[in-house]
């Protein structure tokens, strides 16, 4: 945990349990990351990585434990207050592009959560593909365009803590490469990022720390510096 203690924790989760209806999905997740850090949540499908993000967002039926953002407790906040008060940008696994809205409308949908949002012009520079399809409806975008839009629209709001769920899933290598460049750039700008990722090769060079999640619990934590030495363990965790 050496890198954690150097910076104050921006997000600190302790003993987080979550339920969908009757089914108990998270069984005491603990994790933390400092401002400007990037962590990944690794693990198999259904291990509880997406649910961890959704629990932070208040999108589960019930959650207990503690979720602190910049020292403030969020576990009991209603869903619509979590994003503005935590200055969070959430990019859901299914990308969440609205099909009845065009690109610009999708981009403008999330209300601002603070100063320092990236301007529309700069976003179109960051994602040139989007600039050409401004008026196209959400349904008529390619997977890559949808993913870029889903990231762009949370950067506009002034969010500082980004929760990104499987952003490389199903995308062509060239787009994955673009996304890698964008994430590195965002990190350099001081964003704090939680990345749920299947693609370890994408995540490895970006992350400060990896959390391995299985059956709704963190079963291992690997610092970026120890990845080389821990390849066997990682392969074991991630192999199907």
């Amino acid at each position: 945990m050496s890198s954690t203690t150097l910076t104050k924790p921006m997000l600190k989760i302790e003993n987080l349990h979550a339920w969908y209806g009757e089914s108990h999905v998270l069984h005491g997740i603990n994790l933390e990351l400092g401002e400007g850090q990037l962590i990944t949540l690794l693990g198999r499908n259904g291990a509880g990585r997406s649910t961890t993000l959704r629990s932070i967002m208040g999108m589960v039926d019930k959650r207990t434990g503690s979720i602190q953002i910049n020292g403030a407790e969020f576990i009991n906040k209603p869903a619509h207050r979590i994003t503005p008060e935590g200055r969070i940008g959430f990019c859901p696994e299914e990308r969440g592009i609205f099909s009845s809205l065009n690109v610009e409308e999708n981009l403008m949908l999330p209300p601002g959560v603070g100063d320092g949002g990236i301007s529309i012009e700069e976003l179109f520079e960051m994602f040139p593909n989007l600039a050409n399809v401004r008026k196209r409806m959400g349904t008529r975008l390619s997977g890559g365009e949808q993913q870029m839009l889903a990231i762009a629209r949370i950067l506009r709001t002034g969010a500082r803590l980004l929760l990104l769920d499987e952003i490389t899933e199903g995308l062509a290598p060239v787009i994955v490469k673009t996304l890698g460049r964008v994430i590195r750039d965002l990190k350099a700008r001081g964003y704090t990022i939680v990345l749920v990722e299947q693609n370890f090769r994408f995540a490895a060079p970006l992350a400060d720390r990896h959390y391995i999640i299985e059956h709704g619990e963190v079963i291992d934590t690997i610092e970026a510096a120890d990845v080389e030495a821990s390849m066997d363990r990682l392969n074991h965790y991630l192999s199907v």
Partner: protein
């Protein structure tokens, strides 16, 4: 002008006049259904409530509160009554419908059906079931205008123009503005919209208030034309549901266009075979259900 064409145009205008109410009421239903997934059976009763509020404000309220000179005219009613109906709608949403969202949609339909019966019962009890004329038509809208092919009541012409304007504004707000895009997004994925920090329950309440307010507005517009009766909504709502089925549930433009068109069709049918005028809409409904079950403008389910 050929008398036949003249007749068709004349019946068309009268049909359009009915179509106005079909359009405004099915528009409100479509807005509500789109965001709440609630089939608001009380829509007809709220239309009736709007008409009664206008009547009460004009004829009764003064005497009730001991100021017999007080009479609120048509123009203020046109603003006040829809707001009051909308507020009433918001109370229904906040304290009744909200509890039912997690259940099967049939429960909210039954609830709004119950609200209809209660409202109708109350008004039958305090007024009579046969209807009362609304005497408050403004002086400036009395009389007729010469349309070339017919003399048409000025007031009805006002209603047609005004309603087209209202429908256009509603369509514009929903399809072309920031507020509208939030509404459309909420229709698609309320959970994510909430996660973006938008207070969806509040938005739902306001939308229900807005949709029911539209019904109230239609009621005020109807008051000087039809007699104000507790059952005026019940008679209309059946036709409105047929309009909504033909247009397709939840489509804003579809509701408006279908409403006006079916009014026209109904009117023109009168020219050729008058007894069929009351059933032609239902006949069309059957055909649409057989050929395009999602409605003419409906999204594929």
């Amino acid at each position: 002008m050929d008398p036949m064409i003249r007749l068709i145009l004349a019946q068309g205008m009268l049909g359009l006049n009915n179509g106005v109410f079909y359009a405004m009421l099915s528009l409100g239903l479509a807005v509500i259904f789109g965001l709440l997934n609630v089939v608001n059976f009380a829509h007809g009763a709220l239309y009736m409530l709007g008409a009664f509020l206008a009547l009460i404000m004009y004829s009764y309220m003064g005497a009730w509160i001991g100021m017999s000179d007080l009479s609120i005219g048509f123009w203020p009613s046109l603003i006040l009554a829809p707001i009051l109906v909308g507020c009433f709608g918001m109370l229904i949403e906040r304290f009744m419908l909200r509890r039912l969202y997690k259940l099967d949609p049939i429960y909210s339909l039954l609830l709004t059906f119950g609200v209809t019966l209660v409202l109708q019962g109350l008004f039958i009890n305090f007024f009579n079931a046969s209807g009362t004329p609304y005497p408050g038509m403004p002086e400036s809208l009395r009389g007729v205008v010469n349309l070339g092919f017919m003399m048409f009541p000025k007031y009805r012409l006002f209603v047609i123009v005004f309603s087209i304007l209202v429908c256009f504004i509603v369509w514009y707000v929903i399809e072309r503005t920031r507020i509208g895009s939030r509404l459309r997004a909420g229709t698609e994925n309320p959970e994510l919209v909430k996660a973006f920090g938008i207070n969806v329950p509040l938005m739902v309440m306001l939308t229900f208030g807005f949709g029911t307010g539209l019904a109230g507005l239609a009621g005020v517009l109807a008051a000087p034309i039809y007699s104000v009766s507790p059952l005026m909504g019940a008679n209309l709502i059946i036709v409105i549901f047929a309009v909504v089925v033909i247009g397709g549930m939840g489509s804003i433009a579809g509701a408006v266009v279908t409403g006006f068109t079916l009014g026209l069709v109904e009117g023109i049918t009168k020219v050729f075979y008058a007894p069929a005028a009351n059933t032609v809409i239902f006949l069309l409904m059957v055909i649409v259900l057989l050929v395009r079950p999602n409605g003419l403008f409906g999204r594929q389910g």
